[in-house]
Symmetry: C2
Subunit: 330 residues, 2 copies
DNA sequence: TTGTAAGCGTTATCAT
DNA sequence: ATGATAACGCTTACAA
């Protein structure tokens, strides 16, 4: 009835415990016949190696840590939700587990990561919500702890690994789509953000439209991230003759969308992140390929764990446009 | 530069490694003076006990496992999102970590849990999304693995620990609130669910209104969980003279809310779960106290870990009504 | 109060 | 191809 161990199993089969360990870790070093015998015994006894013992011996925990970003304003959380699910699945496929932690700010996050490292609790770290001036990647790198970020470093070039979504490419794609559909001019509603995600998305619109500096000013606005702000922005752009816009977020897009409907204007709004809300109200939106991101994050991190000194990897993935039939005139 | 261990520290301080271990685990067994000396050395060296070694010795991992439920239809996911965050925080405060896994169905979940148990990877399990006929609690109990469920067992009485939200009480509260505000009759839009969550919420409405069986039929409907269905249900109830409704979900409520607005009727809709969408459009909703639930889940589970044979604990917490000023006529 | 010894369950190294 | 031996770093007796 008690848990079998290497020793008890070895006694039963009549081999040394080392042989059993070899069957599990280096099957080629053991003869096919005894391998069969051992495997059968393992199966019969339901034997599984002890995690703790293995970790103590190998100095590998097969565990990765990630901070659960500050809970649910929810609207953006949808992306992280999908990412987390994909991440856990991808890691699980490679025999790794994800343990979570929460932290009030970046410095608290670093404290926790340092403690994890010192107590040898994890093999690597996944970073999210990177921002300009982010100290974390370098700090963790200095701890000699493998790390990969979901998100580019927005100031200097990163000497650490990262995977990110190419917001500019996504916005450009959506913008071209609207132009091809005959909408003109195509506007943009973004954030007052000069360095990070917001600037990146704005750049995609500017590139795709090829508008002059003057046109860019007329056909775009920068707002705080809320539906109300999105609605006001849409009102302003309507005055400029803009009926089709790409937005930096679903939150803004929802407001713009509502304003269009209220005014009875036939236009088109594209949001960003393809949140549940967007799906629910039939809003077109740019979907981040969280599944792909998660796979690359895991592969990159495991690669870094097995080769701490290798060249840094940077991966940029395009979002995909979820085009929906929008009943913009109710 | 290398990681300090008990031995290296002991050598530095000039005591046996045992003394250091005692300082950490049974401080009262060591003299105040040497304790100070040791603590200073620990601080200076940045020493932390190795997780793996400690786990191997004590047979406790300080790790709890939870399945990340199948990703994001999103609308409901908001509750789980908040719960997960609160859970990780509550567990962290007690020195426990949460590791996640994903599974296609209940039986796959059990397989993974079994493997965790066999490899001594976890101390306990948190179960969510319990449903009628749920095999998991008993199965895990049979594995002699501490388990607590977020969600009642909906068929038989549970001999396992659980924490749940009292949906009936919440709906009753919201219903009384609408009645007090002068709305009459107050309707209910729920799910075709005879045994579980849906029936529970329905019961709260029936209790608070005191309607006859006939009235209950006229003033309530049961729909699949979608905004469209909610809108259709609202249309039907409007014909019966119902302008105020409580809904079993925000999803239904959003549809009902939209229908009210489209018809230009001044009424009131209350949803369930207080999702981001509800907050965004100004919809009143019943909020599950996920923070409290998480705290109780952790306390209960840790209690069960330290006392496997104790009496089963059942905790029921009321949701709170988030009343919002609804501009139901645009 | 402090030190000594044993063992938790593995895997790596070295012999056979 | 297989087996014996020695860690991995800690905690819980028990002895001094």
């Amino acid at each position: 009835m008690k848990k079998p161990t290497l020793d008890t199993l070895a006694a039963q089969v009549g081999v040394s415990r080392q042989t059993i360990s070899n069957v599990l870790n280096k099957p080629e070093k053991v003869s096919p016949q005894t391998r069969q015998r051992v495997l059968a015994a393992i199966e019969a006894a339901g034997y599984r190696p002890s995690n703790a013992a293995r970790a103590l011996r190998t100095q590998r925990t097969h565990t990765l840590a990630m901070r659960l970003s500050n809970a649910g304003d929810g609207i953006n959380g949808a992306v992280m939700d999908g990412f987390l699910h994909a991440l856990v699945t991808a890691a699980g496929l490679r025999g790794y587990r994800i343990t979570l932690f929460t932290a009030a700010d970046d410095s608290a996050e670093l404290d926790i990561i340092r403690e994890f490292r010192d107590s040898k609790a994890i093999d690597g770290v996944i970073l999210t919500d990177t921002h300009a001036g982010d100290q974390r990647p370098n700090a963790i790198h200095d701890l000699r702890l493998p790390v990969v970020a979901f998100g580019r470093p927005w100031d200097r070039e990163g000497e650490h690994d990262w995977v990110d979504v190419d917001g500019a490419a996504g916005v450009a794609q959506a913008t071209r789509r609207l132009l091809d559909d005959g909408h003109t001019p195509v506007g943009f509603i973004g954030w007052p953000d000069d360095t990070g995600v917001g600037a990146d998305r704005y750049a995609g619109w500017a590139r795709a439209t090829g508008y002059s500096a003057d046109q860019q000013r007329r056909y775009s606005t920068r707002q705080l991230d809320s539906p109300v702000a999105g609605g006001e922005a849409m009102a302003k752009l309507l005055d400029e003759g803009v009926t089709a816009v790409v937005c930096a977020s679903d939150s803004l897009a929802i407001g713009a969308f509502g304003r269009l409907r209220d005014k009875g204007v036939a236009g088109h709004v594209v949001g960003f992140d393809d949140t549940p809300v967007a799906r629910m109200i039939g809003l077109s939106s740019l979907r981040q390929p969280v599944h792909e991101v998660a796979k690359h994050v895991v592969e990159t991190l495991l690669g870094r764990i097995s080769d701490p000194e290798g060249e840094p990897r940077h991966i940029l993935l395009p979002p995909t446009l979820q085009a929906r039939t929008v009943a913009s005139t109710s």
